[in-house]
Symmetry: C2
Subunit: 233 residues, 2 copies
């Protein structure tokens, strides 16, 4: 085997390793998406068993984070990637931290689904579920943008979070009215409040992941940068 | 200059670079600690000007995160660190993300300090301030453990977060009583609730940073690992 062949061989193996962690992060994203959907299903139908399943499933998300993170470190140490390869590894290692936290949000939502609710709290849960479905679509599209490293979609989706924030503000106002009308319901409604907040945070995490896609493609850190500046680039 | 000298020279420069990012992350930690103290001062005295100052100061925290993160990437690309050097860079790049989020928590606390409060909400703010001082001490000791890469302290501090969580639960209960007694106060108290939650999150962030110290020293990822397992190691 001559030297050139060897180089190609090593580089081919390196490519395979990069491809493998890309696939792993997408698989982790798929699992988190499923957790989010099931948590919302549980909330919508007050299905305690399903909620329990989501809570128990969180350790798989955590395990994937640790696993992929180790793999990223191993690649950096062994392959000494530069330029876009290094950016890919960094983008992935940041993405999994956000995915893990979306996993925690799913647990929070599932916990709200496990509380006994009076009938008059039903409309509240419907609002949260609907906001949650919005967040699920945002997560799905974000993972799509990540899979295709599609910077245009990432910029579009980055803006989508603001809509979710508006929806969240509306729900908080709604929750306040409920609490003021029936103060005895306050402890139960606080759970719903945490669930709403968890859904809102899913949007923030998606926004972060979009920033990593932009970082990978453009080589520029756009955290704390305004849309105007982002689009100008 | 012979080859050996050159190597020593390069390595000396590399050490200086590692030392420089270590110092930068500690400086960032110092700034965040100051932000947290001032946010709590503002909450304790309802000092709107000081609260405003904290809110405006957050962009400096953000700027430091982006700056140090770039420096970490540059070191990985240029120096191709391995073993403990690589772990140091990774630990730092994760630490700054948590510090940045503690910065966001300070903004949240400062915002609660800016609202007009009736006198009967004063005791609530005192509770949050006291919990906040606890969190500040925890942050200070965590940064200390980080500066000395002291794994024993890191393990001890890691447990401290549970105490903060207990304090937080007590405050939430207290907040609920207030809301139930005077439903009109609910909107104002929700701000206090967010501030309490922000303080509680500071503890979680400190716990994360302790995990990075353990990771750096022991070379082991202890996220999602129980204390028993951690101490057995």
């Amino acid at each position: 085997m001559d030297n050139k062949q060897l180089t190609r061989h090593i580089s081919g193996q390196f490519n395979a390793e990069l491809e493998a962690i890309r696939n792993k992060v997408l698989a982790m994203g798929g699992l988190v998406e499923q957790q989010l959907e099931q948590a919302l299903d549980a909330l919508g139908t007050l299905d305690v068993e399903l909620a329990q399943k989501v809570i128990e499933g969180d350790h798989r998300v955590n395990g994937m984070e640790v696993d992929i993170d180790e793999e990223c470190t191993r690649i950096i140490a062994k392959r000494q990637p530069a330029a876009s390869d290094l950016r890919l590894v960094i983008a992935i290692s940041k993405t999994i931290a956000d995915l893990e936290r979306i996993g925690d949000a799913c647990v929070r939502i599932a916990k709200a689904a496990m509380e006994k609710r009076s009938n008059n709290q039903q409309p509240l849960l419907v609002s949260i579920e609907s906001m949650g479905r919005h967040a699920t679509r945002l997560l799905h599209s974000t993972l799509d943008a990540l899979a295709r490293m599609d910077v245009e979609s990432a910029i579009e989706l980055h803006k989508e979070d603001a809509k979710l924030d508006k929806e969240y503000e509306g729900i908080i106002r709604q929750l306040m009215t409920y609490m003021m009308e029936d103060p005895r319901s306050i402890p139960g409604i606080l759970d719903v409040l945490w669930a709403a907040r968890a859904v809102e945070r899913v949007g923030d995490r998606c926004k972060n992941i979009c920033e990593y896609v932009i970082y990978y493609v453009k080589g520029r850190d756009v955290r704390h940068v305004s849309y105007e500046e982002m689009e100008k680039d």
